[in-house]
Amino acid sequence: MHCGWAGNVTDNKIKYWALNVFCALVLAVLLGAHMGLMHLPGLLGQINPAWKDPLAWAHVSERGRSAAITGGYVLLLGLALFHGLYGVHTMFTEFFSGERAARRIAAGCWIAGIALFVIGAFSSVIFHISVPRT
């Protein structure tokens, strides 16, 4: 069977794709709620006045006190980074299709993903621990 140009035939990339679709499904719900609350405050504020100004410090610190919301943020960040970087990885591997390029693209995506995840998750968790509970 000819496979000289066809890459590594032992790879199973379908599992990454499946994980990406799963992330997309969860994101549609979680990120949908997040974006709705953050970008439609005027409309949602008519329903619940507490949603009127989500960026006010009082509300930010109130959310920070909740372990569930902090956990949700970390989960959301992980899923969004995987989904986004999987998409970027796909685009780059389409333009640079050599094996060496594939390794570099994968390394770049992993580094960017881990760095952003560490920054985001660290700040969320530390904020949750340190925010004053009044």
């Binding site: 679709v21 994101l27 920054i119 985001g120």
Partner: protein, 146 residues
């Protein structure tokens, strides 16, 4: 391989933007990619900006006051537009890629009506949802926002 020299004519990135004429799903494919890139860039910035809450209320207030400028408000709205489109089109793509929205194989009888026609009602409904979300977001930013 043939013995003649051959001239490469792969379309590459040009195919995304011009190339041959696209159908509506072809344009949605391009928009999905562009909106995805926009959202990932925003996410990176968003992670860095929101991390500033660690430094206390003052830093947070200073950063948030920057986002009240009309230009940044508009950019923020563009992110919302990208999200509304990417999410609704993404729901269509999930249903398609899992093989639900493309229908089963059928006998090819001219004029051919294949999976593109099968998924089109779903596409129209989801694009209407996207349009409604985009209008609501604009209304919110212009009328009800601070």
């Amino acid at each position: 391989m043939n013995d003649h020299p051959a001239v490469e004519q792969r379309l590459g990135l040009v195919r995304w933007l011009t190339g041959h004429r696209h159908g509506i799903e072809g344009y949605l494919y391009i928009c999905h990619r562009i909106s995805g890139i926009v959202l990932l860039l925003f996410l990176s910035l968003h992670v860095l900006v929101t991390s500033s809450r660690l430094f206390g209320e003052e830093t947070w207030q200073t950063l948030m006051s920057l986002t009240h400028s009309p230009a940044l408000k508009f950019l923020e709205y563009l992110v919302f537009v990208a999200f509304a489109f990417h999410a609704t089109n993404g729901v269509r793509l999930i249903l398609i890629e899992l093989g639900f929205a493309v229908g089963k194989a059928e006998h090819p009888v001219y004029p051919y009506r294949g999976s593109l026609h099968k998924q089109r009602p779903l596409m129209i409904v989801l694009m209407v949802v996207a349009a409604v979300l985009i209008v609501l977001g604009g209304f919110d930013a212009l009328r009800l926002g601070r």
